[in-house]
Symmetry: C2
Subunit: 342 residues, 2 copies
């Protein structure tokens, strides 16, 4: 596509992290979407990414229409650099696109002995409490915390009961979903995973008002405001679609998709070693929690993905044939050699 080699490598690395960590819904399956967005002129592969406003601990970054991975990596690097001097660094990014797994950028902070934070807004598919209007994305939050001997604490979660990818899987398998994930266009509970195509919407974490859906809505709103209102990106219902077959809206309120990044240097609070020992203690306390009869062990955020990463790292990843076939087609269009090593 003409992408600078360094940028291509960053993008590949984030896709690969998703595949290794068992989050293939954010992995190579998306390459076709990115390619088509580029063909439609909606991704700029030679962007001029720049800081447009800053203070000692903050920056607004304009991604200039970059692939999300490129804008996000640069933004997180800026947050880390700011944290080195000011103790913490915070970047709100506009003019970006879909960036893959949020956890990847939060994890960039770990090797610097920093806590990393990522948020992003996303395609509007989620209705706030009481509503049938699709005003929010699945707006994920990721937080990575360094540890000493334990694997790092890595929370990476959408602010909806389930990720959108799980609906797509249920739809492909012809299965119904559990109640509590989606509603139809009139706000009635639905178990049809294809309901989003008929004007339905996803619910926020909590499901209904009686079970705290307004709290999931609050979280999602905070992600949207930090990612888009602080940076000047499109907020809420104005976030541009991350697939080329959906049109760009005429009524933009900002530039592209918005993200938010944070880096907090541990020794801006206390000795890094003391903190990391304490985090190990936190983790073993929670790991030793008593499970309810018949239930699995209590999870530490990041554990399931770390286990997958170890497993996939040694035996390789599985790619579904349709994705391989898409990649082969793209390679053909771009005159790139394409070989599958079994």
């Amino acid at each position: 596509m003409g992408c600078p080699t360094a940028d291509a490598e960053i993008t590949a690395r984030v896709f690969m992290a998703a595949e290794l960590r068992g989050l293939s819904s954010h992995g190579m399956i998306r390459i076709k979407d990115y390619y088509q967005l580029w063909k439609a002129g909606r991704i700029n592969i030679k962007p001029n990414i720049r800081i447009v406003h800053e203070s000692p601990s903050t920056a607004v970054v304009d991604g200039d229409g970059a692939i999300g991975m490129i804008a996000a990596t640069r933004s997180m690097q800026i947050a880390i650099r700011k944290a080195e001097k000011a103790g913490t660094g915070w970047v709100s990014t506009r003019g970006s696109n879909h960036f893959g797994i949020a956890g990847y950028y939060a994890m960039m902070a770990l090797e610097h002995n920093m806590i990393g934070i990522t948020m992003t807004n996303a395609n509007p598919l989620v209705a706030p409490t009481f509503s049938i209007s699709r005003l929010l994305g699945t707006n994920p939050v990721a937080v990575a915390v360094p540890t000493k001997k334990q694997p790092p604490f890595i929370a990476d979660f959408s602010t909806t009961p389930i990720a959108r990818g799980k609906l797509a899987v249920a739809e492909k398998k012809g299965e119904k979903t559990l109640p509590g994930y989606v509603q139809d266009k009139n706000g009635r509970t639905s178990i049809d995973p294809a309901i989003l195509k008929q004007g339905g919407s996803m619910l926020t974490l909590g499901g209904d008002y009686e079970h705290g859906s307004h709290k999931g809505y609050c979280m999602s709103a905070i992600v949207d405001i930090f990612s888009a209102v602080l940076s000047g990106a499109n907020f809420g219902p104005f976030v541009p679609p991350s697939v080329a077959y959906l049109p760009v809206l005429d009524n933009k309120v900002g530039e592209g998709t918005g993200h938010f990044f944070g880096a907090m240097r541990i020794d801006a609070w206390q000795k890094a070693d003391t903190f990391k020992t304490k985090m190990d203690e936190w983790i073993s306390t929670f790991r030793n929690a008593k499970s309810a009869p018949g239930m699995p062990d209590v999870m530490i955020p990041g554990d399931p993905e770390s286990a997958k990463e170890k497993q996939n790292g040694s035996r390789g990843i599985q790619v579904i044939p349709a994705v391989l076939s898409d990649l082969k087609d793209i390679a053909g269009e771009l005159n790139i050699e394409f070989e599958i090593k079994q």
Copy 2:
């Protein structure tokens, strides 16, 4: 109790804000608890609150056993002062106690044209996903965002489906709760609001794993780590009880209860006026969302509490007789004149 006048005024102001905003579960009903904690030597009313570690944008504050309101107000003032210079300010506080409503401190940022953030850990009553161990509090998050003509955006929510106070109300009325709030000591769903007294526990936001309770658990864990591991307070199951009739644990892992505060200066990101106009636009977009048939209007975070504040501010607040009688008893013990103006 011998509290300095300025500190007594701060404490009264936070209690009153809770009453006015319709959150009386965090209002005067708690004065008796605070009084008894003080009598038991577990609250220090002449604390030496001090910064023990800092960087340009961060500080760890030791509350020295202060009333939570005092430690929290000082900590938020420090966060705001740091933000004036560094763009953002972040304070993690240890050695504190119950501090009333989280939203109060986040709202302190508004008049400085800053976004305010508050978190706190709390008595362990909540079990992480799959578990029956009470390892977390209801660990609330509050975020206040300045606006231009609209009332400010004020999210203030626990990371559980409902606040603990609602269980107490149901119990007093002899009512059952909806399913999805609590489980018994064996992890079975319960609708008994008194189940916490029989080894039961509250669930995290999401309710069960299938509906994202692990995401509520992640949020609650992040609140706990930012509030207590960063500051050196007691984390998770070690948080000291906020009532004197429950004993202090022998196995402390830190000092008192922990809080986390943030202040982000708007013009560290962009012109404050531009941002506030955009926030108004965000709010009207969400206010104009279409409600599902038969459902109320879509809420903007903070709207219900602002409405209550207006109402109560003009007609006064209602205090339940048992609370008045407690206050009268305390006044008697302390030889303070006590008069109720009708």
